[in-house]
Symmetry: C3
Subunit: 256 residues, 3 copies
């Protein structure tokens, strides 16, 4: 760090199994990726190419190479998986993962109806090819899943071979884990945490207030996702108690 400050919460360092920041790239240029890496490569663990933006991204190979050279694994958003599934093109999806040398893949059902045993079968199959992230929660504001079902879905998907499970929020942060106002469904989160280890969950939390809420609940090393590239540095200060929002929190408490 650039100067010595005492009593800063300890951050697990990369490569790490928790304390993850997953950033969302929804169409950055190659040079913008280089810029992001120059400021944030110590803080970003994985990058998602949002939903199916990879379909229309030129120079995809070149962009993936820049991330790869920085040691940051990249994956295609779950909506792309669903776009292949709904078209009965699962084999094409597997070939696309190979073609671009992807190390990770996301399995989700936010925009399609997919029987849960089929979803788990996809997790099982893909886990033989890549590291799998699976996502729970609908993109549809009207589909409210009760807490005990979230827990059941998450546990089954981890058992099927998912490395981590992701709690859905979209880019906007107003579905799934959150009310349409963006407010956290705190009872849901707390009930999930009674059953699923916090290290296994990546919480999508694109809004600052959401990030603050999770850091206050789970400490500096909570896994957070859907972080906008220009918010990675600000998030790191929130984790360390160096922004107004969490400034007092870490001075009065001992947290992981």
């Amino acid at each position: 760090m650039n100067y010595q400050l005492n009593n800063i919460p300890e951050r697990v360092v990369k490569p790490r199994d928790y304390g993850l920041t997953m950033a969302m790239d929804k169409g950055l240029s190659v040079r913008e990726v280089e810029d992001l890496i120059s400021t944030s490569s110590d803080y970003i663990d994985i990058v998602k190419l949002g939903w199916a933006t990879s379909y229309v991204t030129p120079n995809l190979d070149q962009k993936l190479k820049v991330y790869r050279d920085a040691g940051i694994p990249v994956y295609f958003g779950g909506t792309l998986f669903e776009a292949f599934i709904i078209r009965n093109q699962f084999d094409d999806y597997r070939r696309a993962l190979d073609r671009f040398g992807m190390e990770l893949a996301e399995v989700s059902d936010g925009s399609i109806d997919l029987p849960h045993d089929e979803k788990c079968e996809y997790i099982r199959q893909l886990a033989q090819q890549v590291t799998v992230l699976s996502e729970v929660g609908s993109k549809d504001v009207e589909k409210i899943i009760p807490p005990y079902k979230w827990i059941g879905l998450m546990q089954t998907e981890l058992d099927a071979g998912a490395w981590k499970v992701i709690g859905e929020a979209r880019e906007s942060g107003n579905v799934g884990l959150f009310r349409s106002s963006g407010e956290v469904r705190s009872g849901l989160v707390e009930e999930i945490l009674t059953k699923i280890p916090f290290e296994k969950i990546i919480w999508e939390a694109p809004q600052k207030e959401q990030q603050v809420w999770f850091v206050k609940l789970l400490g500096a090393n909570v896994n957070l996702g859907n972080i906008s590239p220009h918010e990675v540095i600000p998030l790191e200060t929130v984790r360390l108690g160096l922004r107004g929002d969490t400034f007092s929190h870490f001075l009065n408490n001992n947290h992981k």
Copy 2:
């Protein structure tokens, strides 16, 4: 495209007369323009230098050259036209268009009171010099224009020589076509479309929900404007049914 997905809505390809994306540049650096072109030159048809930002932009010639070399026509926002008109400097405006080699110009009256026959006379005169876009709708939230008047204004301006008419929304998307909440004035849009061909209208739609609404109503090849540079790639996925918002729409329907 980077991989094969079946049943993707067909996009008209550039150069095209409809299916246009108009991006708004409100002060990008030359290098940021290069970045934008590297990711989005296939998707952007025209660029507006927002309102009168061109007045305070350094290196304007250099920036225009980068767009020109990429084959993307640029125009000055309508507020600049109005700034010249209110000062009785129309001839200076025409000279500025020449000086910078502009191929397009916008005629609007969002911030000034301009008798409609005078506005149409400006359209006629400028149409001899450049391709004219004319804009209908006020930037003033209190000025509500009834649908039959929108239709009359649009038709007269097209008759006067405008290539396309633009429906006003501002950078924020909360006036003109939209309520102050950002919600589309859907009755207005639908009534306009009974009289004016959809190919002749560019809808300013800076917010994602607005873009989704228009794509659902008019298909992948609707003309949309005031798109933020970093939202061009996301918009292209909305057009193609590859984002959650329009994912199911194109699977169940046949649209233009």
Copy 3:
């Protein structure tokens, strides 16, 4: 300017004592700083590295050099000062200022409880080392300071040696000078201005509506802060009456 427009409000030119734009850098890459300077060096007077983002910013020396070479002074956000104070590391803070060759420093108490005479003592001490900006107002939405107290605090801090006083708003613009909706506490601002010269105050005003409000009240040369890098050019047009929001204002009035 790129073309001649008559009757544009006169802007004080750099280096200037008022009419200041303070931009907030919350983690720009070196190349993004170069881009910002290429478009906005005539318009930005000072840059704040937001709160304690400097702690986690790589290549800090290199970044500071780019700003310095452009003649733009930079300072660390007040939250960093507070982070040192709460840890009893004031001497370390002074050393950090020296180590990085900072010309400016901010003294604030937005996140800590600091007796006002102690705050003024810090201002006095730091004023011997650097140019001091002091900030009034809490980051806590629940702490409402009545106008007469704002005036007293501001006057005492100027007397203690602050070059300018800053009115708090945060990055989001919803505390201090503003209600949680972002609306200006206009009575507060007007009462402050009966006692403190407008040249001595930098108003944090991150939202466009807030900037417009201040420009309408105090003219093109009001000091405004917490401006996002991509909003510097738009703000300059607001100052000059070249955006819809202030378009009519300068045509009907004579303002400083």
